[in-house]
């Protein structure tokens, strides 16, 4: 069955939150936030939540200054305590969501302007629990995924010690009667490694969702 959601050009789009896992590179993080703000998703339906997991002072200051420019839509989550690791940070972030759907991206992603609509469209299907972007080059490392919060919570929420990728969470949802949708193609290109990963930065795990 061809992707029936490509034809969905207008709709009463649901409110979504884009969680951006910020890394040590403040330039790349801000660039990702700018890409999201420039997307064609209705501005009133989009919130951004940069997730700062024990960040460097420069990154924290840069994100705070950027968020101050649009405090209604950008609400950073700062984690200095609790269990360390990206999985735990994501779990904390999902507990603070004010929207029914959320997207998880990495600070190295440069989402094209149509990506959020493509991720949100399948959720008009009441059976869809998550939407995964399949990359053209799997070696790029992590994936981008969108989630229906109610489905995730019904299946136990995000574990904070998950050592696996999005697909294992999607598998859990599928066992609970939720469908997963895979979007194929280079829908979310990753920035060049030189731009996103300064030499001093800690190398990114193969699966970014894995605990350190």
């Amino acid at each position: 069955m061809p992707d029936p959601w490509r034809g969905l050009v207008c709709a009463d789009w649901p409110a979504i939150t884009a969680l951006v896992l910020a890394e040590a590179d403040e330039t790349g993080t801000l660039d990702t936030l700018r890409h999201l703000l420039a997307s064609d998703y209705p501005a009133a339906r989009l919130q951004l939540m940069p997730v700062l997991e024990r960040p460097a002072a420069a990154l924290q200051a840069a994100v705070a200054a950027f968020a101050a420019g649009d405090a209604e839509r950008i609400r950073p989550l700062l984690r200095q305590h609790g269990r360390p690791g990206k999985a735990a940070a994501l779990k904390d972030a999902t507990l603070q969501l004010q929207t029914d759907f959320f997207v998880v991206l990495d600070a190295a992603d440069r989402p094209p302007r149509t990506l959020l609509r493509r991720l949100a469209a399948p959720f008009f299907d009441a059976e869809v629990g998550c939407v995964l972007v399949q990359r053209a080059a799997p070696a790029a490392g992590h994936d981008v995924a969108a989630w229906r919060l109610a489905a995730l919570q019904a299946e136990g929420g995000r574990p904070e010690d998950l050592r696996a990728a999005h697909w294992s969470l999607a598998w859990r949802l599928w066992r609970g009667g939720w469908r997963r949708v895979r979007l194929t193609g280079p829908a979310c290109p990753v920035a060049p490694a030189t731009a996103a990963r300064p030499a001093a930065a800690r190398p990114q795990p193969l699966r970014w969702e894995a605990a350190p």
Binding site: M1, P2, D3, P4, W5, R6, G7, L8, V9, C10, A11, D12, D40, P112, R113, T114, R117, R118, F124, D125, A126, E127, A150, A151, Q153, A154, G177
Partner: protein, 341 residues
């Protein structure tokens, strides 16, 4: 005998991966049209607007040609057509035509390039056109065709038109009987003649039987076909692994998803979306607020309304059939064949 069993097992294994393709062939599906590129994803009028802007720039610069060396011809009056001998003999033109006011296209010509009018634009019956742009009303005469795109403040397509490209309007698109289309986009899409007014259905009552609602997710999941009698209402989403059939006058305060077919009786109201892997059929007078998406066919009955003014939505399926009196606010996207009855 063992070699025969081995041969049979190998043949079965070889054929097994081909079964989905064979099933698709049996259903007679054609390859869908290519999806719009990312520039078109949220604005089907993107191509028309972009060409209009490029032409305006070219005219402002005093250019006499536009991309690919196509000549731009300005028309002083709606009826004055300086066609050359070759064009008249071959009954086709590859020049870009532009008028500052209204324009009436001549009979018997095939316009293989863009035609733009700042005022009203009227095509001739049986005319073929690559692309049309009207600053005001675009009237497509009987059995005329559009291959790439057409755009106007208002667009009217007479009976028998074939709209193979995207047709968009700032205000309204009106379709007469037997119009073929692929992509239509406007704040209001209407098929004529208008449907007669329907009496208001009786107020629905809550479902007497308790559906298996999941309180955490607000949805009910059925592993078998679901039939709900007339005149009921319920809150939340319904998902069925079979068909879903709703009786007349039902009110769904949520979305519906069927792995099979989805059939709505007359005057059903749905606040959410309709999604089915099979055919979706709406009876007369139904109202749906959200998207209607099928992997097969969508049939909208007489007097149906999809979307609302200021809350546009999309009907998307390989095949779409519209009865007279249908109103859609937003977009119709038929990847294989859309048609008015």
């Amino acid at each position: 005998m063992s070699w025969l069993a081995l041969f049979t097992a190998t043949a079965l294994l070889a054929v097994l991966p081909l079964l989905p393709a064979l099933a698709e062939c049996r259903r007679g599906h054609r390859a869908p049209s290519p999806p719009p590129d990312d520039g078109d994803a949220s604005d089907p009028a993107h191509t028309a607007r972009r060409f209009r802007a490029r032409l305006a720039l070219a005219l402002a610069d005093g250019a006499r040609e536009i991309s690919a060396g196509r000549e731009i011809v300005g028309l002083p009056a709606p009826w004055a057509w300086p066609l050359d001998e070759d064009e008249l003999r071959q009954q086709r033109t590859q020049r870009v035509w532009h008028a500052a006011g209204d324009l009436m296209l001549p009979r018997g010509m095939h316009f293989e390039a863009e035609v733009l009018a700042e005022g009203h634009l009227h095509t001739a019956p049986h005319g073929r056109h690559h692309a049309l742009w009207a600053g005001r009303r675009l009237a497509l005469a009987e059995r005329s065709g559009v291959d790439a795109w057409a755009h106007g403040q208002e667009v009217e397509a007479a009976a028998g038109c074939r709209l193979r490209g995207a047709v968009t309007a700032e205000r309204r698109i009106v379709l007469q009987r037997d119009v073929g289309f692929t992509v239509l986009h406007a704040p209001e899409l209407r098929t004529e003649p208008a449907a007669p007014a329907r009496p208001a259905p009786p107020q629905p009552v809550p479902l007497p039987e308790a559906l298996a609602w999941d309180g955490r997710t607000g949805r009910a999941l059925f592993r078998e076909p679901l039939h709900i009698g007339p005149g009921h209402e319920w809150p939340g989403d319904i998902v069925s692994h079979g068909d879903i059939t709703l009786g007349a006058g039902c009110a769904a305060h949520g979305s519906l998803k069927a792995h099979g077919e989805l059939r709505l009786g007359e005057d059903v109201v749905v606040d959410g979306s309709l999604v089915a892997e099979g055919r979706i059929e709406l009876g007369a007078g139904c109202r749906v607020a959200g998207p209607v998406v099928s992997a097969a066919t969508v049939v909208l009955g007489s007097g149906c309304q999809v979307g609302a003014p200021g809350r546009p939505t999309t009907v998307s399926a390989p095949r779409i059939e519209l009865a007279p009196g249908v109103v859609v606010h937003g977009a119709l996207h038929a990847t294989i064949d859309g048609r008015t009855q």
